[in-house]
């Protein structure tokens, strides 16, 4: 029988999750502490570079986090994998329902909000996953 890598170590959890938003928002706080005249006078590439670097680190951090979570679930305990799959099922349905509701609402009442539809759906998906995982866990207790 194939040995399952249950204790697969992947340092993906809290540090990355905390560090990523910090890295993203650090420029905002640093800029807020500097005098506004100096910031305006800074060349454009400094602004663009700062934003590029922080968003790049943030993106890398979250990709690392998501891949780590994926592999840990995949190679971990089969019961937890089942909970994960059932949660994803809920997320898929919820996201699709929200997609069509949001399209309807935004097209008719707030067309400019269509630009944010992916971000809103991502948040809906994450929240749905967290709630669904708790709900599914309750079912098996």
């Amino acid at each position: 029988m194939k040995t399952v890598l249950k204790n697969f170590s992947f340092p993906y959890k809290t540090p990355i999750l905390i560090l990523s938003p910090i890295v993203l928002f650090v420029p905002t706080f640093v800029i807020a502490m500097l005098p506004i005249e100096q910031i305006i006078q800074l060349p454009g590439y400094v602004h663009r570079g700062t934003l590029f670097l922080s968003t790049f680190l943030w993106t890398l951090g979250f990709i690392y986090y998501i891949l780590g979570y994926h592999f840990q679930i995949l190679r971990g305990d089969e019961f937890k994998f089942k909970i994960h799959l059932e949660s994803l099922n809920v997320v898929f349905t919820t996201t699709l329902v929200f997609l069509f509701i949001l399209i309807f609402v935004f097209v008719n009442f707030a067309p400019t909000m269509l630009s944010y539809i992916l971000v809103i759906l991502a948040v809906v998906g994450i929240v749905a996953y967290l709630l669904a995982a708790e709900f599914v866990k309750e079912k098996y207790q």
């Binding site: 089969e78 019961f79 937890k80 098996y140």
Partner: protein, 66 residues
Amino acid sequence: MKNTLHILRAERRLSQEDLAKLLDVSRQTINAIEREKYDPSLPLALKIAKVFDKKIEEIFFPEEDR
């Protein structure tokens, strides 16, 4: 699916945690199987049978067979 896992475990004086370690799964998995809320996969059922030195059908059986 019904099972006699909790009886077998008690006979051998194993805690859920001990059995989970032997089977390389989480304690929650053992708990869910014992409470008959979750049916294990065939590889896990085989492992359980091996640990208790029994056949799978002596541990797991359909509800109507009880």
